[in-house]
């Protein structure tokens, strides 16, 4: 997550002692923050039934693809069927502001989604995922879920994050033209939403993957610049 102003999200920012900066960004945008206890409970629920000896896969479809900021043993191209990525969460705190809101990606039902699978080695699972929860679960706008992911090596179950459609940040249906306008102009303390889109499309292409909607939105955003 690298902005024009040079900010780049690193794993250090996700450590509990440093998470306060992100929390302040959320609070400044008027967003409610989940408590550390609630995040820990959510993670524990997600990992219920996972053996301590088991590696865990995470499916990334947005910034996790190009800036995982997690220690991982393996990164492969992956696809989940039955879900597609969509700019459907308002971003008024990082790559947007209340005055120039941006949008973030989340998974919505229907279709399929190409992305990457990150394998977290068993000894690292609890710690790395706690960092991931500090990154993705601060506001409760995502729902952590296990989905079956296809990889070149076969199918595995992976944790990923769906849009929480009952959350205040859920933007619902937005026409592609409106999405492009928002992404073209959104800017916040972490940079612009456009870079988020640029990086996502670049990473898809790096893996030889295509997402027609993302490519179309990027063309529209570039035409507005």
């Amino acid at each position: 997550m690298s902005g024009r102003d040079g900010f780049s999200l690193r794993r250090e920012h996700l450590l509990p002692e440093n998470a306060q900066a992100a929390i302040e960004l959320f609070r400044a945008a008027g967003l409610e923050i989940t408590s550390p206890e609630a995040r820990a409970a959510s993670l524990a629920e997600t990992l219920a039934g996972v053996s301590p000896e088991a590696d865990v896969w995470v499916f990334g479809y947005g910034s996790l693809m190009w800036n995982p900021a997690l220690h991982h043993a393996e990164l492969v191209a992956g696809r989940v069927r039955g879900w597609h990525r969509r700019f459907c969460l308002w971003n008024t705190f990082g790559r947007g502001s209340p005055e120039r809101p941006g949008l973030m990606l989340a998974l919505e039902p229907g279709g399929s989604c190409a992305g990457v699978g990150l394998r977290i080695a068993a000894p690292d699972v609890r710690h790395e995922l706690s960092l991931l929860w500090n990154r993705e679960m601060l506001s409760g706008s995502y729902l952590p879920r296990w989905l079956r992911m296809s990889t070149p090596q076969g199918e595995v179950d992976a944790i990923t994050f769906l849009a929480n459609r009952s959350h205040a940040r859920y933007a619902g249906r937005l026409p592609a033209e409106r999405v492009a306008q928002l992404l073209a102009h959104a800017r916040g303390p972490l940079g612009g939403s456009r870079e988020y889109l640029e990086q996502t499309v670049a990473e898809l292409e790096r893996h030889g993957l295509r997402d027609g909607q993302m490519h179309a939105i990027l063309r529209a955003v570039r035409s507005l610049a």
Partner: protein, 222 residues
């Protein structure tokens, strides 16, 4: 000649089978599936998947599971199919519970027993091969999201241990058609060979999605 006793008995049976008109109506929604995501088939689907759906195929997709399954006896399945009709028409058939025996495989009898807000208690009798079974399902209707959630009512007689899931309707191409999504997690509560469970599940899944689509097309011809 019909005796008074037989007539009385027939009337009682008819009354028992008829929908309970005294039940309060489920609140009408201003729109169906209007708050859920709208799908553009050219972007959300691969060309091959979309072609399969248009041919009437059923896609097996990734079920949505909150936690890694701790109960190995429960299994989840999810699938999608396409209905070439708007979500309003699909929803009207899907929530016509007492007509389910006409088009849902295995279902032999359904009766709406109770309504509370958006929830309906529906008693269902069905038959899996030769075995008659029954349970009561609590359905929660969220028409604006195009979502029909259910779970088994454990307080009513039930022949399986647990069942939960949802139907979801997504508008495709501006509401021209509907993507029908189904997910179920079932614990039969008894030892069922895996191959048998898989065969039964896949076959009934296919029959269910096909049956619903065919009923929608029958009721709403173009």
């Amino acid at each position: 000649m019909v005796t008074p006793l037989a007539a009385w008995l027939a009337a009682c049976l008819a009354a028992a089978a008829a929908p309970d008109r005294a039940l309060p109506a489920v609140a009408a929604a201003p729109c169906i599936a209007c708050r859920g995501p709208a799908l553009d088939p050219r972007s959300a689907f691969s060309t091959a998947d979309w072609a399969a759906l248009e041919r009437g195929g059923v896609l097996h997709v990734a079920p949505e599971i909150p936690a890694a399954p701790a109960d190995p006896s429960a299994s989840s399945t999810a699938a999608e199919s396409l209905v070439d009709r708007p979500p309003q028409q699909v929803w009207s058939v899907l929530t016509d519970f007492e007509q389910w025996p006409r088009f849902m495989p295995l279902v032999r009898e359904t009766r709406v027993e109770r309504r509370e807000g958006p929830s309906l208690w529906v008693a269902q009798k069905y038959r899996v091969w030769l075995y008659p079974m029954q349970h009561t399902t609590v359905y929660r209707l969220e028409p604006e999201l195009g979502r029909l959630e259910w779970q088994l009512d454990p307080t009513a007689p039930h022949d399986i241990a647990a069942s939960a899931g949802h139907w979801e309707l997504l508008a495709v191409d501006g509401g021209r058609a509907t993507l029908l999504r189904y997910q179920a997690t079932v614990n039969a509560g008894r030892a069922v060979p895996a191959f048998l469970e898989r065969m039964l599940r896949d076959r009934s899944l296919r029959q269910m999605l096909d049956g619903l689509r065919d009923e929608v097309l029958r009721r709403f011809p173009r």
